[in-house]
């Protein structure tokens, strides 16, 4: 009898310890791992840009023609850096191609079937609200007029948010259409969509913001106004 009671209580303590450890893993350790992974992705990007800027690039002169067609992205590889001043002056995250679970552990994920950065259509990006570095923790703070700045190493793209967080259901794939119906846009254009989960720790809904391309400038011209203090 005593042995049974002892074994049961030992099992209960073990289960409790396991749960505490899992919480530590989810809340703390995924963030530590993701911070390291994102740093690494940013380093990869900067190496890549340093190498390509060493060669004379053809994109120098024609600023009036707008951004030229970029090369197709490779799944799981970073291709841009995103800055959102509203989420913090130092907030910047790498954007990787694809929205698979493994990709989103290393940064923000670009929906593979949507437009490329700065191109006509809808450039759609997903990110974690919580866990893995909490990139979109303050997503509900985004407001109309906020800047979302991206760079691909050659050009700065400044998008302006047109619609504050819009709540929808997970199956609402329309929100990343070229001209999303609920966004209020009526004509084709160069748009940006960000998606994350809602509620903060749940998965019953999604939060969406839409933005349009406001301005571009070559990196040689310095940081865009939205990023200057």
């Amino acid at each position: 009898m005593r042995a049974v009671v002892r074994t049961v209580s030992e099992l209960c303590i073990t289960a409790g310890t396991l749960i505490v450890l899992l919480v530590v893993y989810v809340l703390f350790w995924t963030g530590v791992r993701a911070d390291g992974a994102m740093e690494h992705q940013i380093d990869l990007l900067q190496d890549q840009w340093a190498r390509s800027s060493a060669r004379p690039s053809a994109s120098g002169g024609d600023a009036a023609a707008g951004p030229e067609e970029p090369a197709p992205y490779t799944y799981g590889r970073p291709f841009a850096l995103m800055y959102i001043p509203r989420l913090g002056f130092t907030w910047n995250k790498p954007v990787l191609e694809g929205t698979g679970t493994g990709v989103l552990k290393k940064g923000l994920g670009h929906y593979a079937r949507t437009a490329q950065l700065g191109q006509k259509g809808n450039f759609a990006v997903a990110g974690h609200r919580r866990t893995y570095g909490d990139p979109f923790k303050d997503f509900p703070k985004l407001r109309r007029g906020d800047a979302v700045v991206l760079t691909d190493g050659l050009t700065w793209f400044t998008y302006r948010i047109d619609r504050g967080p819009y709540k929808t259901v997970p199956s609402d794939v329309e929100v990343i259409d070229a001209v999303p119906r609920k966004s209020g846009y009526t004509r084709a254009g160069r748009y940006l969509t960000l998606t994350t989960c809602d509620p903060e720790w749940g998965h019953s809904h999604r939060l969406i913001v839409w933005a349009h391309l406001d301005s571009t400038q070559p990196v040689e011209a310095g940081k865009p106004r939205a990023l200057r203090r």
Binding site: L21, W29, T99, R129, F136, I176, C197, W201, G202
Partner: protein, 53 residues
Amino acid sequence: MYGWIWRHLPGNAWVKAFISLVLIMAVVYVLFQYVFPWAEPLLPFNDVTVDNQ
């Protein structure tokens, strides 16, 4: 269970305590490295896309 393990560890109390510590660290390592990364996608924090890929 834990008493049984303790009794079967070799050495005196200090050696037993040291071996226990190593065992605990090994278990935590396996959990963080293999078990939790497997279990975590089953929790709802990963669903941030609208097309569920």
